[in-house]
Amino acid sequence: MRIPLSWLREYVDLPATETGRDLQEKLVATGLEVETVEQLGAGLKGPLVVGQVLTIEELEGFKKPIRFCTVDVGRANGTGEPQEIVCGARNFAVGDKVVVVLPGAVLPGDFAIAARKTYGKTSHGMICSGDELGMGDDGSGGIIVLPPEHEVGTDAIELLQLVDEVLDIAVTANRGDCLSLRGVAREAAIAYGLPLRDPALLDVPAPNANGYPVRISEPAGCDRFTARTVTGLNPEARSPIWLRRRLQKAGMRPISLAVDITNYVMLELGQPLHAYDRSLVQGAIGVRRAEQGEKFTTLDGAKRVLDAEDLVITDDRGPIGLAGVMGGANTEIADHDADAGTTDVVIEAAHFDPVSIARTARRHKLSSEASKRFERGVDPQAASAAAQRTVDLLVLLAGGTADPGVTEVIAPSAPHTITLPADHPDKVAGVTYGRETVVRRLQQVGCDVYGQDNLTVTVPSWRPDLVEPNDLAEEVIRLEGYENLPSTLPRPPAGRGLTERQRLHRRVGRALAGAGYVEALNYPFISDETLGKLGIEQDDPRRTTVKLVNPLSDEEPALRTTMLPGLLEALRRNDGRGSHDLALFETGLVFRPTGDEPQAVRLPVDRRPTDEEIAGLDAALPRQPRHAAVVLTGAREQAGWWGNGRPADWADAVEAARTIAREAGVELIVRGDQHAPWHPGRCAALFAVVDGAETLVGHAGELHPRVIKALHLPERSCAMEIDLDLVERAGTGALQAPRISTFPVATQDVALVVDASVPAADVEKALREGAGELLESLRLFDVFTGEQLGEGRKSLAYALRFRATDRTLTVDEASAARDAAVALAAERTGAVLRGA
């Protein structure tokens, strides 16, 4: 809402020295978001005067038509001689009154005016357009032609009210009353402790039976309808300068006198109005719901198909207006240029159901000045005053005659009252204001207040947002100043810190970052096509996705079921930007619907939902487990003066999973697998024991070459993805401290030859079990294949360390344990001791 300061001063006697910025500060403190204060005419300096065009000489031979004019500016130029001015505009004629800026003047934008040679003539000033004067669009499309009554030589800065301040206020959804000068003036009056001259306090004649007939068949949608008639309007009458200027400053374009007046009254009082050309309205005006599919053309020329919920204004033929949103083309006021100008009008000032208007405006994507106000709440009591004000202005400015008939259809309603303890605002604020202050503040906003310890508060008709005791508390607290609230701290019960799960999530992030991975937070939006490129089959659960009705991009309408699309995209982007050695990680939710989720039920809000109802809502949601994933490419270790580097490979990906598992105190079981999007020969399935059962928790390895090609990834890129929720559940709780033996260690190395297809993990498991409890640690230190072993065989070399807790082991004891280990490995995996 744009509020010209000069206009506002009509209703509140603000101190003359008070600037727009001063007012801004006060209004912001009491709750109006004044975003900017525009300084109109800043830097503007005269002489800027009314002139009359005496002669026009068309100059030939230039690329565009140019006029050389003489203009009478009276004594403003000091000589009284006609002023010679070159002008490129054409929308004026000899005898027209125009605005002339003379040499020595400065126009907005630091535009200094001097006599200058142009088009072979000397131009002593300029004939001005609205734009050049910083007035905004006046619809003239050229220079300003003034009404003839203004005298030559008159100061145009004053005449056109070019210097002003305009406050731009972002009005919140609850404060429809502040979409008017009246509402903002009330706030200003309260902020300064000054009286308000309420423009809605007008003498209004009592309703009678002679007014234009109105029939409301939908009182739920329209609880008030005032109709007034003005006849004998002069269709030639134009809006006076003051009216046009106020509309312009408030951000509206002057159109025609009748329309300008309704807009002016709406800005002043907040009541949207509509003027119908009476000669085009047939029969009584009605208010009803539209018929489903009914067709109607609004003022903007759009043909609309109506919904049965839309509220319409009708005459005998059908709809003539989309109630509270926009009038119809069929009863539009004709402006003065038309062949048959409008002479008789019917004024509508009505009050409509905010919800109904909001739905209609949204349904038809048609937000108008009227609908904006009705949605946020309009003072129903202001309707008759607004109609009266409109009538008065039409009579005054268009020479019309007010018809004595006054129609008012009003559905009975009681004013809204709220009861609250007088100290309720104190309790909400944590400040002792006292009853007196509370009552005074509530009265200032227009409430009637009765009672002592318990207050009965009748809220004013212009504040439909005041419904609950807390709404009234807010009024008191904001007017007493939010800035005066003290700073106190509550005392929450002693806390327990982060949960185990939250600690784990942080540890996982730190551990991966410590291992050289950089976290990337990717959007979870994916396309089905990408899942296809990852080689994930149609029947894979990862292909069942949550889809959005209104995705950001139609290309990516689904939510991720795996972290990899986003991470791989980040990998590709980094690679494209010249970073080729990459290790990225992300943790976050993936969305795994079954596809059979029921619809979420609409639950009431006036009570706590039952546990069953909550469970019902939760059942409508997809499973949303937290995953962690890494992707790698390029060098894991850089080459440098210390020697060679090492490329990232499948083993790094598997190790990233182990890094995560270690943080959770979980030992991963790793097995070979074939699983998209991984290389079938370089893919590890990761298992953990969850709730007593070995459970698949993730995969790691090198990506499938086809996937790398399809997604344009660097060769040999690797990836790992793991379900953190499952890993967390596999955790075994507090670690049991190991017993540290100080007896000497006995080391035994063994090399075992097995079939190449035997997983090292199986051999290791057998060795550990066979070695028994004397085994302290075991490490695979070499894998060897070669001709001497034979085709399809490999040798695994292990270092076994034995130690007892209570004695020094003898060589025989250590050897016996080793032999037992080898024996079990032989039995389980066919391992043969090398060289044996």
Binding site: E474, L485, A513, G516, V518, Y523, P524, L548
Partner: protein, 374 residues
């Protein structure tokens, strides 16, 4: 024990003459001093202290002396050998020190060589900033609460007093989840637009008092540009207890900005409107860079707050009693306050990030410098 040799004449034993012993000693000392390497010293050591060295041979001769002469000769030879051995040890350590100094010099390396064998990793600054904020409140006794990102509309809207006709439910802000075929728009499930549904779930899960901090990812259907992202991180706070006031809210906010931006920081509340709080306020914090001193001071403009003196943080207020009712908490007995703000904006002004896209694109050049903590 053999009988003493009575016919012994010390004068006749040349090697035991005092001058002779002195000469041997001096020769040894000279040889040690002349040895310029540990090898040469070793040779001199063999020559002058070895079994066949003159002093050793002389020592052997003592046994042949008559008893009366033994003591004197023994003493003389012993003293000489002592001096020789001492000189040897001194020279030995001298030469070793010289050798060590030389070897250490030879072993010197260029310690300015760079070492980026395994480049460092890093956590995303949004993650670490969120954790830092969480920690401020965890230290005060709050719990960290989390919830689903795909959420039922009832939790995201209805329970928060955002009725079916509230503009925030319109298509312009919210991502709606598709329902089954034929009823695509009727799932009543959305991508949460704030972490407030976690507040509702927290109230349903717990008996009051409730003190929770709700960080997490939220979604609004804005296009990505330098100052907007459709997916962003929020931190919200909810406190529900007996007798909580707006002053408590103010104090909690003040405490937060002091913990995050240093002593002397404060917040400002400006009246505003949100359906889920009443009274409601917009919260600003004093610009932590200029502390408000750039206001009206064109000589010292402040980039961080555009010389406004205040930085907008987010929204807050007293929990609307209707929200408490929907969550099963008696608004007659309990009151609450809540606030919420986006982490991206805070990261932008706290670390001078100019373009929000840098936070979402995962470029390692942006993230790596932030390290493990923020």
């Amino acid at each position: 024990m053999s009988a003493p040799n009575k016919s012994y004449d010390p004068v006749e034993v040349e090697a035991l003459k005092p001058e002779e012993i002195e000469r041997m000693r001096d020769e040894a000392l000279a040889a040690f001093a002349a040895a310029d390497s540990l090898g040469a010293l070793q040779e001199a050591k063999v020559a002058h202290t070895g079994g066949t060295s003159p002093l050793s041979l002389a020592n052997r001769e003592i046994g042949a002396l008559p008893p009366q002469a033994k003591a004197e000769a023994g003493k003389r030879v012993g003293m000489a050998r002592g001096a020789v051995s001492k000189a040897l040890a001194a020279r030995q350590s001298e030469l070793e020190a010289e050798r060590d100094a030389r070897v250490l010099v030879e072993e010197a390396v260029d310690v300015t060589l760079p070492y980026d064998r395994t480049p460092a990793g890093a956590r995303h600054p949004l993650t670490t900033l969120s954790e830092r904020i969480e920690d401020v409140f965890v230290a005060m006794g709050y719990e960290v609460a989390e919830g689903p990102e795909v959420e039922a509309e009832w939790f995201n809207f209805d329970a928060l007093n955002i009725g079916p006709d509230h503009p925030a439910r319109g298509m312009q802000d919210t991502f709606f989840v598709e329902g089954p075929k034929g009823r695509e728009t009727e799932s009543n499930v959305v991508l949460r637009t704030h972490t407030s549904p976690v507040q509702v779930r927290s109230m349903l899960d717990r008996e009051p008092p409730v003190y929770v901090i709700c960080p997490g990812r939220v979604y609004r259907s804005d296009e990505l540009d330098a100052t907007h992202t459709p997916v962003f991180m929020q931190v919200e706070l909810l406190a529900v207890d007996e007798g909580l006031t707006m002053s408590d809210l103010k104090g909690t906010l003040d405490h937060m900005v002091q913990a995050l931006f240093g002593e002397g920081m404060k917040t400002r509340l400006r009246p505003n409107f949100f359906p889920f709080t009443e009274p409601s306020a917009e919260m600003d914090m004093v610009c932590y860079v200029c502390r408000g001193e750039s206001v009206g001071n064109p000589d010292r403009p402040c980039r961080t707050c555009s010389s406004e003196g205040w930085i907008e943080l987010g929204g807050c207020g007293m929990v609307n009693p209707k929200v408490l009712t929907a969550a099963g908490i008696d608004p007659e007995k309990y009151s609450g306050f809540a606030f919420g703000f986006g982490i991206e904006r805070m990261l932008m002004f706290r670390h001078n990030v100019e373009d929000m896209r840098d936070m979402v694109e995962g470029d390692i050049r942006f993230t790596r410098p932030f390290g493990m903590e923020i």
